[in-house]
Structure formats: C-alpha cells, structure tokens
Symmetry: C2
Subunit: 183 residues, 2 copies
C-alpha cells in the first residue's frame, strides 16, 4: 500500500494524487485507508521518512568499510548515493519533490537525517582538503554538484538501457574525484 501510494505520488505528485486514486489502485474504498493512516499527509510522511532512512543508512554503512583514505571514502559514498537513486527512482523523486508538502513537524525527522547525510560527504571532502589530497574550487559548491549527479538520475537514467547501475556508480565516483582534484 505504501508502494502503491509511492507509485502514484511519484507520477502525479502528492497534491495531484487523491485518496480516491490510491484506494482505486488498491481496489479498496477510500475509507479503508484510514484504518492504516491518520491522513494523506501521514502516508507521505512515512514514505519521506523511509526514503531518508534508507539513504542515510546506506551511506553510513559503506563509510564504515571504506578505510581511511579520503579518495576511497568519496568513492564509497558516491557509489552508494548513485546506486540508491538509480534503483529507487520513485522514492528519490517523492523525497526530493514532495517533502515540502509536509507540515514542518511531520518533515522534521527526515530533514535532520538529510542534514546528517549532507554533512557526511562534506566532512570527507574537508578532511581530504586538509590533508592536501583534494583541491576543489569550493568545498560546499562541489559537494552540492557531486550530490546533484545522483539526485537528478531518475530524470534521465533508464536501468533497462545499455548502462548498468554498477558501471554508472563507477562513472559518478570518477566524476566526483575529478571535481575534487583527487588522485
């Protein structure tokens, strides 16, 4: 049911999807949904939270086994970031486009996770700069540019095409290191 809502929110947007749409896709009556969620906003909040948790967990996990070299850490983070967005494009789209439809109190936990994920990359970059391994023109703008590669994936990348996810992740890691002036 979260999956159904996700599919609809991703293709028509949160405000463009009605409770009736979700119910119809599930072959239920609209009222049946309220046994599972307090409101339409709570469905979105759940999706946004799950998306941020999965993303943050993935980044945290790969960083643990990435060793201490800044280059390897960047490569691990960017590979995970890219794989996440390439394999869960609908969740990525909803998280990035519809989060702002939530009232602040429902979005707050997810926003906190987002800030932590952003900080994870920035800290690795700044450590690399301090070690003299990276020479980005601007740490914050470069971190944003690196992150943007993944976030924009759902808008052009076709997993069924000639470029498989693993190769794409390598390409993004390579591009990130080039931006940083690493290696």
């Amino acid at each position: 049911m979260l999956e159904t809502a996700l599919r609809l929110f991703a293709s028509q947007g949160f405000h463009g999807t009605s409770i009736r749409d979700v119910a119809k896709a599930l072959e239920l009556q609209p009222s049946a949904l309220y046994a599972h969620f307090a409101s339409k906003e709570h469905i979105l909040a759940e999706l946004v939270q799950l998306g941020h948790e999965a993303h943050h967990e993935a980044l945290r996990k790969v960083l643990l086994s990435a060793g201490t070299e800044p280059e390897a850490q960047v490569r691990a983070l960017i590979r995970a970031h890219t794989v996440m967005h390439a394999t869960h494009p609908q969740l990525s789209v909803v998280v990035n486009e519809e989060s702002h439809a939530l009232p602040p109190e429902l979005a707050a936990p997810a926003m906190a996770l987002r800030n932590q994920s952003t900080a994870l990359l920035l800290e690795v970059i700044e450590r690399g700069v301090a070690m003299g391994r990276f020479t980005p023109p601007h740490a914050v703008a470069t971190a944003a540019a690196i992150s943007a590669m993944g976030v924009r994936l759902p808008y052009w990348y076709e997993p069924a095409g000639t470029l498989d996810v693993d190769t794409l992740a390598d390409i993004h890691a390579e591009l990130a290191l080039r931006m940083l002036g690493g290696r």
Copy 2:
C-alpha cells in the same frame, strides 16, 4: 500576474495552488483570471514555455561568441546555465517540477526546446572528445552530471550569501572542465 502565479507554483506546486490562491494574491476575484487565461493549465504552460525559451536563448547566444575551442564553449554554456538557474530559481523549479502536470500537447513545444538545449551541450562535448581535448568517462552521463549542477542550484544556493553568482558560474565551469578532463 504570471509572476504571482510563478511565485505560488514554485512554493506550493501547481496542484497545491488553486485559482482562488492566485486571485487572492492579486486582489482579484477568481473569475477575473479567465479574461487572461483559458485555464489554470494554460498559465502553467505559459510559464514553462517562457522558462524554456529564456534558457535556450541564453545558451544559443553565448555559444555564438564563445569561439571554436571546445573548452571555451563548455565554459560559456555552463556559465550561462548556472547564471540562469541562480538568478531565476523559481522559474527553474516550476519548469523542472511542474512541467509533467501539463497534458502532452501543451508541454510539447517546451520539451522540443529542452531537447535542443540538451543537445547543444552534448554536441560540444562530443566534438571535444573527437578532437582529443576531452576524456569524460561517459559522454551522456557526464553531460547529465554537468547539467545537474545548475538544475539543483535553487535547492541550496542563496544569492544573498557569501558566494556571488559570477563566482559560482566560474566554479561550475571549472567543475565541468574537470569532469571532462579538459585543459
């Protein structure tokens, strides 16, 4: 009036903004809007079209005075792309997030322009590759990554902060050339 609709569409989304919202912001009655536009969708279509035209025109114009060197051409395209997104963040957001709320026939002209703009960058890159000046890991993915830097700007960049638009444009041009392996 387009400006008012743009402001509301950017902050609440197309489906999240009602005709009544727009009318109230203009201190008009809802019915008064229909003297100017046939429907709510036509307001969005106009904004989407204007946004794509301004973007495409900007790219075309700078390319004319960028000379024949691929590096200079990339620099010119990326600078224009970045300046556009940094100085018109609301238009960029609406164009990129709400275009899909339009029926295909209303969105078609803008989509055609978008494809042309995408092709502009890709052609410069592929020419640079053919000349042996660029060595991107993957031309299409690298073009997408370069474009993504600009598209994501409205979500983090604050023109009022310490980083001015002109410096940012230079940073993005530098990052693009690094990704391409140019110079």
